[in-house]
Symmetry: C2
Subunit: 215 residues, 2 copies
């Protein structure tokens, strides 16, 4: 039976990790309760917005006090799918790919990069960040047998679509794409793009306009 998937606002999903980070820090500092106003102040957001975001995770707060931090953290982690780690394969062991492999904190986000792949045989000779590197030809079999749900693409724009095709064939359900193209994949496959150009564009465009108005 095809259930309608309740979709949540992407802006909300993008803010929640920040709230989580703050909540975890406050918990480490010994606090038991945290309010939306506290979080909003630190994020420079409207408390009402923070409250609505948090409400979508389903956690219930206490009037006048706030939310029990442990319950809040649990609710956000479950909501984001960060409880019970998900396996991922990374393809493209270049500068960026290697940096991601060496980043230790993805576990905090429930992401376990268990293997990396590249076309360059040289790169398969050593582990990076304790993660083994294989030839790309090994991906399909491994992905199918291990039922890996997430693929990370850190190859260049020219080869990204080919890698996406291989991932889809291998049964990967979600792609975290760092290449600056729009991947063509079946509708059922999730794609989340990280675009440095997009981010840089926002910055430099606004910087230009600000400068112009100063003169």
């Amino acid at each position: 039976m095809l259930k309608k998937i309740k979709s949540f606002s992407v802006p909300t999903l993008r803010r929640l990790p920040l709230y989580l980070k703050i909540a975890r820090r406050e918990q480490s500092a010994g606090k038991l309760i945290i309010s939306c106003s506290d979080i909003a102040r630190e994020c420079r957001l409207d408390p009402i917005l923070v409250r609505k975001d948090i409400a979508s995770t389903g956690v219930v707060g206490q009037a006048r006090c706030g939310f029990p931090i442990d319950k809040l953290i649990e609710a956000v982690e479950i909501f984001l799918g960060w409880r019970g780690g998900k396996d991922a394969f990374l393809v493209g062991v270049g500068h960026l790919g290697a940096a991601l492999l060496k980043y230790e904190k993805f576990q905090e986000h429930g992401l376990m990069i268990i293997a990396a792949f590249d076309i360059d045989k040289q790169k398969t000779k050593q582990k990076i960040g304790n993660i083994p590197v294989f030839l790309i030809s090994k991906l399909p079999d491994l992905a199918k047998r291990m039922r890996v749900p997430i693929g990370i693409i850190t190859v260049n724009a020219d080869t990204a679509q080919d890698i996406a095709d291989i991932m889809v064939d291998a049964g990967i359900k979600a792609i975290w794409n760092f290449a600056p193209i729009v991947l063509k994949v079946p509708e059922s496959i999730l794609v989340e793009n990280v675009s440095l150009s997009a981010s840089l564009g926002v910055l430099t465009s606004q910087l230009n306009r600000q400068k112009d108005s100063d003169e």
Copy 2:
């Protein structure tokens, strides 16, 4: 005189670099004209949206044909502030910082990383991606003398605010922040955040919900 800064939609600013990339590629392939429908098809967006985005750059098209690619590229580049490169300093030569220093294509985005900084003296001994690395204590003087407008923060969350303070004191106008915190800076300073957690949160959250509904 304080002119009101005309602000453009951030979603539009985030899509324009993609259109630009496509336009450049088509130009290399010899095409002289490109239509919003062409771009929309490739980006999997509504042509009307693409047309509106492009309209905000001020370029004018030709009914039934599209936009002259050279004019379109020029307009988008100017709009994004990517004509006539901008200097930048990067602070934090860790895995990610080093990867950005080695990335050669920022020039296509009008960004020139002319120096990097770190607290670790060891790191100052060699260039990375042909960019020299200095001790962080050298930043203020260099930034002021060279009037560097952009600072890139690739340190960890604990030190990011300190680095931002140093950058602001040194006259930097815009910060490209890769650390997972909300920086506290004066209103006149632009901040653009790149948040891997946010991006990952969108992916894993949706992946979870999809899985739940399958069962």
